[in-house]
Subunit: 258 residues, 2 copies
C-alpha cells in the first residue's frame, strides 16, 4: 500500500486549518499552503510551519496528496487551475461528488470530515468521522491509513451516502445551533443568562447515548399540551419568525407516531 | 430558617421520579407518593422506599413540603382536591404561575428543574438549574436550601422569567431533539448508522462553552450557498414536511446579521 507522507493544502479556512494541524501533528510533511488570499495562506503556513504560495501554479508538484479544503463553489475552477500532479487530489466537501475531478485529475478522492469547524475552537479530531471515497481501491486504502492517524472513525461511503450525511448534518448541527440562537435571543430579551440553559442543551445531546431521538422527545408538543403551545405562540407575538418555526415544528412533533 | 426535612410526592412521572430520587439520596424523608394511577404510585413508592396512597385525601398532612410534579393541565384540579396542609406546596411547571394556588394554599411555591427528563435515563442533577419562586422570602430560602442539597445552580426567578426560560427551553431542547430525529430518519433511509453523526451533535452543543450560537453557526445557509441549499431541497422531495423546515430555517439563518 502507498502511504501518504506529504500533503499540499489548498485553502486556508476552518477545514484546511483543522486538518492541516492534524496532519502536521501526526508527522505528515506539509509541503505548502495555497489560498486565493495570500495573507490567509501565509497565516496558515506559519501555523503549519511551511511555505505559502501566491499562485497555484507554484505549488510543489511532488506531494503525495493535495487537500482541496475550499468552498464548494470554488472547487471546479480550482481543479481547472491545478497543475498536473501525480499525487492524490482530494476535496473535503459533503455535497460534491467525484465527478468534479473528471477528465483532469488522475488520482481523485474525497476526504470529508463530518464535523462543524469554527475558528479558534479546538476539536477533538479522534472522534470525528472521516468519510472517504475514490474509484480506486488503492487510494481508498491510502486515505484510510492517513485518516486513521488521527481519527478513530474512518468510513468509506459513496457520493449518495455522503450527500445524505451532509444533509442530515445540516439538521442535526446547523439547525440545532439556530435553535440555540433563538433560545439565547429570547433569554437576553428578559435579562436572563444563556448559561442557565446550557446544561439542558448538553443533556439533550447526551441523551442520544442511551435513547433514540423519538424516545428522547419531550416538551409540550409531544404531550399535545395545546394550552402551553398556544401560550407560547402568544408569548412570541413580537417575533413572527420564531412563531412560524414554533408552529411548524410543534405541528410535526404532534404528528409523530408512537 | 425553616428546613425542609420531609416531602410528599404528588405524581409519578419523570420529574417526580428524578426529584424524588434526588431528595431520598440527600436524606429527605419521603412520606409517601400519590398518583391518580395507583400502579404508578406503587412503582415509584417502591423506588423511594415509601408508601403509595390510592386517594389524595389519605396523604400524610404533616410533611414539610408537597411536590406537585404533574402535568400542567392537572394542576388546578389537584390543588382543589389537596387536603389542607401547613407544609409548602410547590409545583414543578415551567409555564404555570403562582396564581394557580391562590386562595386555597397557604404556603405556595414553584420548584422548577430546567431539564429534560426521560424514563430510564439518569441525569446528573448537580448541573440542573432549579428555578424557585414564592411570594414568601422565607419559603424561597427554605427551597434554596433544599435545592442546594443536590444542584449547584439554584436561582430565584419570577413567573415571567420562568415562562420565558421554559419557552427558550422548547427551542433549545425539544426542537433540537426533533432536528436529531429528522437526521436519524434521513440516515436510516440510506442505510446509514445514526452513530456516525453523534460526534457532530455533541460538538455542536459543546461549542457553546466557548462560542455564542451566532459565532458557532456554520453550514450552507450562513454561507449563503444557494447551490447546496437548492440541492438539499431537491434531495428532500419525498419529505415535504422536512423540506418546509429546511426552507424556513435556512431563510432565517441567511438573514442573520453579522
Amino acid at each position: 500500500m502507498f502511504s501518504v507522507k506529504s500533503v499540499v493544502i489548498i485553502g486556508s479556512g476552518n477545514v484546511a486549518t483543522h486538518l492541516g494541524t492534524a496532519f502536521l501533528k501526526k508527522g505528515i510533511d506539509i509541503k505548502g499552503v495555497f489560498s486565493t488570499t495570500l495573507d490567509h495562506a501565509q497565516e496558515l503556513a506559519e501555523k503549519l510551519k511551511t511555505k505559502a504560495f501566491a499562485s497555484i501554479t507554484d505549488i510543489p508538484k511532488d506531494a503525495d496528496a493535495y487537500l482541496l479544503a475550499i468552498s464548494d463553489w470554488a472547487l471546479s475552477e480550482t481543479v481547472r487551475q491545478l497543475p498536473s500532479v501525480d499525487g492524490i487530489v482530494m476535496h473535503t466537501s459533503g455535497s460534491i461528488g467525484l465527478g468534479i475531478f473528471s477528465g483532469t485529475i488522475k488520482r481523485a478522492a474525497v476526504f470529508y470530515p463530518l464535523q462543524t469547524f469554527s475558528k479558534n475552537k479546538q476539536v477533538d479530531l479522534s472522534l470525528v468521522p472521516i468519510l472517504i471515497e475514490s474509484d480506486d481501491t488503492e487510494i481508498v486504502e491510502s486515505l484510510k491509513e492517513l485518516g486513521n492517524k488521527f481519527s478513530e472513525h474512518i468510513k468509506e461511503v459513496d457520493s449518495h451516502q455522503r450527500k445524505q450525511l451532509h444533509l442530515a448534518a445540516v439538521f442535526a448541527c446547523n439547525f440545532s445551533n439556530y435553535m440555540y440562537y433563538i433560545a439565547q435571543d429570547l433569554l437576553q430579551e428578559k435579562g436572563l443568562d444563556f448559561n442557565l440553559i446550557k446544561p439542558l442543551i448538553k443533556e439533550t445531546a447526551k441523551k442520544l447515548d442511551t435513547l433514540s431521538p423519538r424516545a428522547a422527545q419531550t416538551g409540550p408538543a409531544i404531550r399535545r399540551d395545546m394550552k402551553t403551545l398556544n401560550r407560547h405562540l402568544e408569548r412570541l407575538n413580537k417575533h413572527p419568525e420564531y412563531q412560524e418555526i414554533y408552529h411548524l415544528i410543534s405541528e410535526q412533533i404532534q404528528n409523530l407516531k408512537d
